[in-house]
Symmetry: D2
Subunit: 346 residues, 4 copies
Amino acid sequence: MISVALVGFGYWGPNLFRVFSSHLSFDVKTVVDLDENKLKLVKKRHPNVKFSQDLKDVIDDKDIDAVVIATPVNSHYSIALKALNAGKHVLVEKPLCSNSEQVEELVAVAKQKNLILMVDHPFLFTGAMQKIKEIIAKNDLGTLFSYDSTRVSLGLFREDANVLWDLAPHDFSIINYLFNEKPLHIEASGFAHVNPELPDITSLTLYFASHKTAHIYLSWMSPVKIRRIAIGGDKKMLIWDDLDRDQKIRVYDSGITFQPSESREIIIPDYRIGDIHSPKISNQEALYAVATHFEQVIKGKEKSIMDGNEGLKVLRMLEQAQSSLDESLLKSRKLREQYKKEVEYV
Amino acid sequence: MISVALVGFGYWGPNLFRVFSSHLSFDVKTVVDLDENKLKLVKKRHPNVKFSQDLKDVIDDKDIDAVVIATPVNSHYSIALKALNAGKHVLVEKPLCSNSEQVEELVAVAKQKNLILMVDHPFLFTGAMQKIKEIIAKNDLGTLFSYDSTRVSLGLFREDANVLWDLAPHDFSIINYLFNEKPLHIEASGFAHVNPELPDITSLTLYFASHKTAHIYLSWMSPVKIRRIAIGGDKKMLIWDDLDRDQKIRVYDSGITFQPSESREIIIPDYRIGDIHSPKISNQEALYAVATHFEQVIKGKEKSIMDGNEGLKVLRMLEQAQSSLDESLLKSRKLREQYKKEVEYV
Amino acid sequence: MISVALVGFGYWGPNLFRVFSSHLSFDVKTVVDLDENKLKLVKKRHPNVKFSQDLKDVIDDKDIDAVVIATPVNSHYSIALKALNAGKHVLVEKPLCSNSEQVEELVAVAKQKNLILMVDHPFLFTGAMQKIKEIIAKNDLGTLFSYDSTRVSLGLFREDANVLWDLAPHDFSIINYLFNEKPLHIEASGFAHVNPELPDITSLTLYFASHKTAHIYLSWMSPVKIRRIAIGGDKKMLIWDDLDRDQKIRVYDSGITFQPSESREIIIPDYRIGDIHSPKISNQEALYAVATHFEQVIKGKEKSIMDGNEGLKVLRMLEQAQSSLDESLLKSRKLREQYKKEVEYV
Amino acid sequence: MISVALVGFGYWGPNLFRVFSSHLSFDVKTVVDLDENKLKLVKKRHPNVKFSQDLKDVIDDKDIDAVVIATPVNSHYSIALKALNAGKHVLVEKPLCSNSEQVEELVAVAKQKNLILMVDHPFLFTGAMQKIKEIIAKNDLGTLFSYDSTRVSLGLFREDANVLWDLAPHDFSIINYLFNEKPLHIEASGFAHVNPELPDITSLTLYFASHKTAHIYLSWMSPVKIRRIAIGGDKKMLIWDDLDRDQKIRVYDSGITFQPSESREIIIPDYRIGDIHSPKISNQEALYAVATHFEQVIKGKEKSIMDGNEGLKVLRMLEQAQSSLDESLLKSRKLREQYKKEVEYV
């Protein structure tokens, strides 16, 4: 049994608590949150768990092997650093830190102390994602050329991240996992409707050296929830609709091929519309699989697919996208001010 | 009866022929296409219609009141100009011309000769669009803030237009119709997977002075067809799914309101998830309504909602978007070349 | 070219006219309907077709090879008989006649005169049905055990048939086509909400000697339209949803197997939930395929899959079902009357 | 706090345990199951709960106020009787008992001892059902005339009930709740594909004195899960699709009205296809609401909507349906045997 502490019992913490509590390889010893009220209800029902408002109860406890961190993003770095320095393995909610320098330091400390540093990207552990990885590994889709993700819903507004930092880590970690290629460039545009400081809609375009491309649309302002990713290959195409009860994955035996033609002016693409196949996928809870992976990596039985270095890649992509987003927002603000002046002048 | 000629009998021409033939106010006198084979089958069944390969049979025919043009885009200008100069009203497939200068000239000629110049934007005449216009006019949605369109399918690749020029006119004409506001700025990115000269995926972001924003995703490379537009207002939100048989429009009594808070650091948005309402919409064919509108405008009974000036606005938006798209494509090409050199150097 | 006449231009007639007019092997020479108004519009556009109110213009015309009948059911028999006696092939809308004696006579006359007598069961000619037949022929589903059909919508109320006679011919012809087995027994129950003489909802249960079973639910009183058939086999199961745009057929690699168990009291069924596969299906119009089949059968190139004998089987099933339905309606009426008396007595 | 014991920890028991454990008004003191293995895992995590294999630990415990019974159907009666005789309130899984005599006795005992006897019909407590009740109470649908339910999925085969006794209690309790009228007559047909003794598909037709009618189709043999109820009224119609994430209820402003006509032979029904409205529904867990209702009824604050008398009504309907089903199965068996003999004879 790995003795684990959970730090942060806000939005995601209760899920982590439920999963680690019911996992046969973990024993949740301590739960920490600054807000006593959040702990009240759960406290009564779990007399064997220690609930505390003080992080020291985790850091100083020699019996705790690992720390799971689900606090606001800006506190991830300091808590993770303290935990690593105290010799504990660490699993952190995404995004791993507020900037890549912090991640670099955590990675270095973890390496030096021979500890596991992992970031929780649960989508990588869904049955759907595992099946997609398998399909791509068998080369069923052929050469991949496009990734198109729509990840929208109404809220939930976070206090500690804009829509880019909240939702893009999902797509960035999936892209890295499937494409295994760093984007050359990320273009972002976006809007802040509710809070001027916090963009709530963002559109991203990623370019890759291999001619792959990705488009990601993220929004907290959609009346319906969509979690849909389309992956294009030159043999087949695939759609993952995470909210479809019966057919989360559809593989389309459809494609477009460029037919060489004598006349340069005429394009003769070959459209192929064929069968649709929905493979059966495992319905194990993703978060439970994350916990199992954490356990296996700690025990040295698996190589982590979402370790600190993976978290670092995602963070650098976030920074690249944020920089482009800032530019785009600045430009649009200037254009609005200029337009206002012109209108006033008239 | 308005005597009409149809020029161009390729992809869209047969639809125009069917609709104008069955319309009680029009009489299709002549059909012109360069390719004799295309006319063969239809010829036999319509002994009262003249089929020709020569445009002169239309231009020189004094009995023809109006010309409907459905040829490749680069021939629109010269055919329309000839028809207007011969004193005929003109209805042109979108996009109206290859550039805005051409449109300006056509608009000027039509005005001078007191003729009707119209561009066919059929989506404006769907029952759904008319219902949406009505909903917005009643202020049911409140102040509009966002437009998000996904317009994707597998092909059809056109020889005479890239995906932007093929599909964006739909969204641009709808945005102009609903927002009645010129965008300050359009950002475009895109990719050309099949033919390097012809982008087949494009993502657009439009900024407006009024803080409205629009995102449009266009693709010829999707295994499934999607025709879906979401419109956000501060009172309600609306989704138009053109492929939904039973509920083309859904109005969501849902929204997000920014709650003022004493502490500047805490955002308390108010999420409201309420009823969903699908109004009954007329199922008259849009193209038939376009023909009726053309008739009413010719007879001076209606003011055109898609005249030359509307066509000009759409064309300027296309040019603005194309210029941003060129920049983005150029940038990504340079980055790829640079990457290639670095790799080779190593 | 087969010269054909169309008798009846009401609800379905215009579809038959459109299809036979555009079919390369048929020439529609004459259209007959008692109501002159129905013919007015179409008359003007088809100067080469003769429109008449008198059946004699068809029967006496030696140049007409075949007659297509789309009049109310109770007139099918006499029109078909006249046409056959005049030496013409006949295609009749379903249901073929008002009773099986009439069908027997038509079959006998057609046989004696060596003419083709066919009944229009268009569902047999959909791309979906052809694909299902192919799947079953390859034994992909294993031994079939169940058929479950839901065929409901709002109206259209017919004057010449109740919901059983209007909709059940579709399912009966499909069952005969796929099962190739006569039901031992048909149980029917139903209700007449709008017109007391004309049941508008019916539920049918069919028993077969081979342990196959069928359930059919037909309604004119449903706010939504459903055209959905589930076919169960001991290897796989299949669902045909005729209104699904992208996946009309889904084959489920799912099933239930009875596991023999030592204890007689414990059942251990083996549930298998596997992949879902949607084969590509041809999207040729079913009615066009019916016309082609009619042509091929007339020319002796194909054996009819919906000839008079098939029509006779369907009619006998209708009569069997109607008799059970009458019993059920009578019983429920008596129970209502009895209840009324009891209540009044009290 | 009401001290409660749970008897039966098989398929449904763990859900009841989770809900009553987390309910603020209940304290789960004891859990009983004959199979020690089922209790092992949960035992470790709930040190404050007593786990036992002996019902006496519940019956003899004076501190236990109420007993929740989730054992196989044939044991419901004796456990409930013991609990009532020991002065405890009782909540029993549906169906309440194996026959109506048992229920009558339990009802009598509960009444005499002034104890609460309730049967768990969770669908009555879904947000959807509560909303439908509200819609009908406001007379939005007008006079109700039909109920059509499809309740199918793959398995789960029960050892203690056929598909009728497993699934029909849901529909029967809903019909009683909404129609508040006893059916005059129930017709049932069905098939037993997997186990000859246990029908796995059943079709039911219910007749009512008020001309209402109901059709229910139940199956354990469908590759897809459907939980769909259509309710027809003469003003509006309603569909409850329990598996629809976003629109569990759709109210159709559609209907059919019989237009009186001069000619008796012509029916002119008026089809009205109008708006579709999906009211927001509460997403509180139904089982939690059942627990709260149990609490409120025990405390005398609410009148039970699913007390012993309601359970008795449902049981009598089950017996009526079973008797018709037996007849139908017997008839079909005889027809098969007769057919077999005829075939052998030939």
